[in-house]
Symmetry: C2
Subunit: 569 residues, 2 copies
């Protein structure tokens, strides 16, 4: 470390030619994000000689040169890269500084590293401003390589790992890219409701939202503390009414003064009120309120049964039929008891809805959107994608490039089934039998996109029997204007359709499917009054993350996964 | 209409000098958004002579010149303005075209209106491409001016009104401005969970999320269809076991063949299995599963009691303590039985969290964010703000301008209380008594921001007794580093604080407040391992909308309001 001061002064001269690093400080903090220093084409070397404050968590630390100084790899989550930090022994307790997970804020001077070093710039510490220590014996995230499965038990700290933080940045980028894409194209973001009383289909797979249980328990506690009136109490109250009533009669027949009679009538009134209160209290039942043997939802918070939404589509359609191009991006829920790597009980969906649009427009929009997301990651998250590519999926960057630049194949469902039947004839084995009318299985979808076309495929015009009532019936009377976007790695990424805008047709489709009409009256109103051709789709946001990163388990691409038996935090 | 063709040809010449309107068509539709035509400095006159397809809903329509043609004011939700459309009788059924709410798609030629007209351009229809009719006798939104209260009963159609569509565009703008602001400043968007098992404070005001009720009902239906075994069934099963056991014994003592004994043993085994199944089925109880008199939540979907989140703050802190600057923007829930114009059961919150930051940084961030939102509306929603200003609140534009450009006043809670006491001395009457230690009431907050300072005010350093356990204790041991941003019209818009990062202090604060430690162990881990100074705040998104628009009722600034007794759709 002896030649440093000479080296430094030459670096200072160099730095004056460059911009000031302190101008890059996070606007609401004294520190400069590590990304601003090292994520530049020069790797930060242009800042050599400048003073800066940085903060972060130690990824790895080690003492060197007989404990004369320590090297820390510092990461603040702003980028996958670390800043190498050198602390001399007189600047701080090296033993406290080196454990993985330690938080430090330091002031120091940026300097060029020794020739041959991997990093382009490093920081020599002048002052340790803050130290948040870690007891390595207790830290749940030791330096050893941890499996993603292990990390699922440590959701509150796993964002400090390279992988989960890279996923968080990629997820952030995809979310902002989503808003940017739709705003750029004139779509309005609409917050559809999370709590819904509308979606009556398959209520078995919905989570119920209620205050009945807690209200029932509150009442139970209250009744224990303050028991309801007994039969004797009620009889006594009736007796008092009778007495007070008799008193009034007597006063009246005795032609007592108005004041006297008035006072007695007031007493009678009070006695009656008291009795009424007791009567009501005596009817209180602990537990969930029932009426005619069924749960009495009129007493629930919303005066009816309420659920967590499974999709914002129906509601956002009402906005499309007024504002033309809209989208929703929010959480959706399924109470399915699925323990697979592809299902979550709580997940995020992007659902655009376009008025004055047909299936072709819907497909164009879906294709443009997916391409935009891929290009966005290449433009804004390349460093994270490189990390993921090294650690998990060597093909992920090429996949993004391919999808961003290749026109999607578009084939009808009927063509898709023919291709699959041909494949079977040529020896391809599927677990699920292929014939016209089946719902394509994941193996079929992945064959089409990964093997047959080796690019994204949009399959459209599905048999009406396997699709929802709101999809527009085609003229063949057999298929509906539905479309699925299939991509390599995950299969179905997007499902959408042109919506049935003809009142008579959708009315009979609802009946045909054995659904009740009444809950859909508002939805029918959109067709009754000023109906418009419209179309939309839904993209499972976590599916997109699996596609982008190549990770295998959906529980690793959402910050706080919810699935049967687990909802940590 | 006679001179039109001559007029048109001169307009065509003019149009060639201008850009092509068809280049402005919505990318995933054939139509051109009305905004692209009329929201220009020339009001669209530069497009005169060009052919275009537009679609929208008729705001008002009337027949003219003895039914020779009709005027339609067409709106497609892309902007508050309408396009005037002229249809001649031979182009369509004028009677069907003119009712309010009718959807039409038309091809036509843009032309300059007669001198003196309000509009700068109008459309002469060549072809009616689509017509979605309305029966005016049945349409729930007649042309007459409707109250916002009335519209709350028509949530599926109210976005077709001028006010609700303006609010939707303003809401969209504020949401995108929020993302833009935080992304620009290097914050990462984190999706905190909606379903939570973490927030144990005040569980009484939380909605419970459960599958126990529907599972109980499913079981009840199943048991009716397929009744549980009777006592006699169970006895019979036991008898069969005995018989089969006896048979085995007899065969054994008779030294029967291995095959014979084996077969008898197998029968015995089946009988025992059958008995076990019956035993289990006999224990099934319809309704909610209980254990020791309490609801058995181990049988609920998440194997424990789960709720809808009231705030993403605690969870997002875990991400800030890894990624430095993060924010969450999502729905939050309160099961409070409030029927006021300021409360919703479901509402959206923006919650940034900054690591390496103190209260001052938090205040700087809040101020910059609110200013950014105001300026964004002035830059991007001026036409909607003008509409709102005309219809509801003449001061709303000035308020945005003032907040965007005026430094916020910053005073301590102690100073605020002194100012309020002074005001009382000078004759100001408050409903709530003022003294150090009280929670400021809305009347106090509004006095400070509206009367005393007439600009936004940040009040900070509140008494610890009225604030949450996680707020950082100041050195005076009496106050915590909390802050509220107060603005004219709504009072408190933002609440935030520096978080307590010292393990020992937060541990004793939790105990001091009588909260259990166990559910917060994960939160304490953030302080146990690599703790960092951090701070954050929450902005009630609907509050911001009330502030921006000056509307009075929060139910009108969210698309699908949820409140006690109501959750339409």
């Amino acid at each position: 470390m002896a030649a440093d001061s000479a080296q430094l002064s030459s670096q200072l001269a160099e730095a004056t030619l460059n911009e000031s690093v302190s101008a890059l400080k996070a606007e609401f903090s004294d520190r400069v994000p590590i990304r601003s220093i090292i994520s530049r084409t020069d790797g930060g070397s242009g800042f050599a000689g400048q003073h800066v404050r940085v903060g972060g968590w130690v990824k790895t630390g080690r003492k060197a040169d007989k404990d004369a100084f320590a090297f820390l790899e510092l990461n603040d989550g702003s980028c996958p890269g670390n800043l190498q930090v050198i602390v001399e022994a007189d600047k701080g307790d090296l033993g406290q500084l080196v454990p993985t997970g330690t938080c430090v804020v330091v002031d120091g001077v940026l300097k060029l590293p020794p020739a041959g070093a991997k990093q382009k710039v490093e920081l020599r510490v002048e002052k340790v401003v803050h130290l948040g220590p870690v007891d390595p014996a207790k830290y749940p995230l030791p330096k050893t390589k941890l499996t993603l499965e292990f990390l699922r038990d440590v959701v509150h700290l796993r964002s400090r790992t390279n992988t989960i933080s890279a996923v968080a940045r990629i997820r952030n980028a995809l979310a902002y890219a989503t808003h940017t894409f739709f705003q750029k194209h004139g779509f309005l973001y609409v917050h559809t409701p999370i709590i819904t009383t509308s979606d009556c289909e398959g209520a078995g797979e919905m989570f119920q939202v209620t205050t009945l249980i807690s209200e029932g328990e509150r009442l139970e506690r209250e009744l224990i503390k303050n028991p309801p009136p007994s039969e004797a109490d009620l009889e006594a109250a009736k007796l008092i009414i009778k007495e007070k009533g008799d008193a009034v009669s007597q006063l009246k027949s005795a032609k007592a003064s108005k004041e006297e009679i008035g006072a007695a009538v007031a007493e009678l009134k009070r006695a009656k009120e008291n009795d009424l209160k007791l009567e009501e209290r005596s009817k209180l039942q602990p537990g969930i309120p029932k009426k005619d043997g069924k749960i009495d939802y009129t007493q629930d918070f919303f005066a009816r049964q309420a659920f967590l939404t499974v999709s914002g589509q129906l509601q956002v359609e009402s906005y499309a039929c007024a504002l033309s191009s809209v989208y929703t991006f929010g959480p959706t829920f399924r109470a399915e008891n699925s323990h697979t790597s592809r299902h979550l009980a709580e997940f995020w969906m992007v659902e655009p809805e376009l008025a004055f649009a047909e299936l072709k427009d819907d497909m164009n929009c879906a294709e443009a959107y997916v391409k935009f997301l891929c290009q966005w990651l290449l433009d804004n998250c390349y460093d994270d994608m490189e990390f993921i590519s090294r650690q998990f999926d060597k093909t992920c960057i090429d996949r993004l490039k391919m999808v961003a630049s290749t026109p999607f194949e578009r084939i009808t469902y009927t063509e898709a089934v023919e291709l699959l039947i041909d494949a079977v004839k040529n020896g391809k084995k599927f677990e699920n039998h292929v014939e016209w009318g089946i719902d394509l299985a994941s193996e079929h979808e992945r064959f089409l996109t990964e093997v047959k076309f080796q690019k994204p495929v949009i399959v459209y015009n599905y048999p009406k029997g396997i699709k929802a009532f709101y999809m527009r019936l085609n003229d063949d009377n057999k298929t509906v204007a539905a479309m699925d976007v299939l991509v390599p790695k995950v299969g179905e990424l997007i499902g959408g359709s042109q919506r049935e805008e003809r009142y008579d047709v959708i009315h009979s489709r609802i009946a045909e499917m054995g659904l009740p009409i009444e809950p859909y009256e508002w939805y029918l109103d959109l067709r009754r009054f000023g109906t418009v051709k419209h179309a939309g789709f839904g993209l499972g946001f976590e599916r997109m993350l699996l596609f982008a990163t190549g990770l295998d388990n959906i529980r690793d691409v959402i910050p706080f996964p919810r699935y049967p038996g687990r909802a940590d935090l």
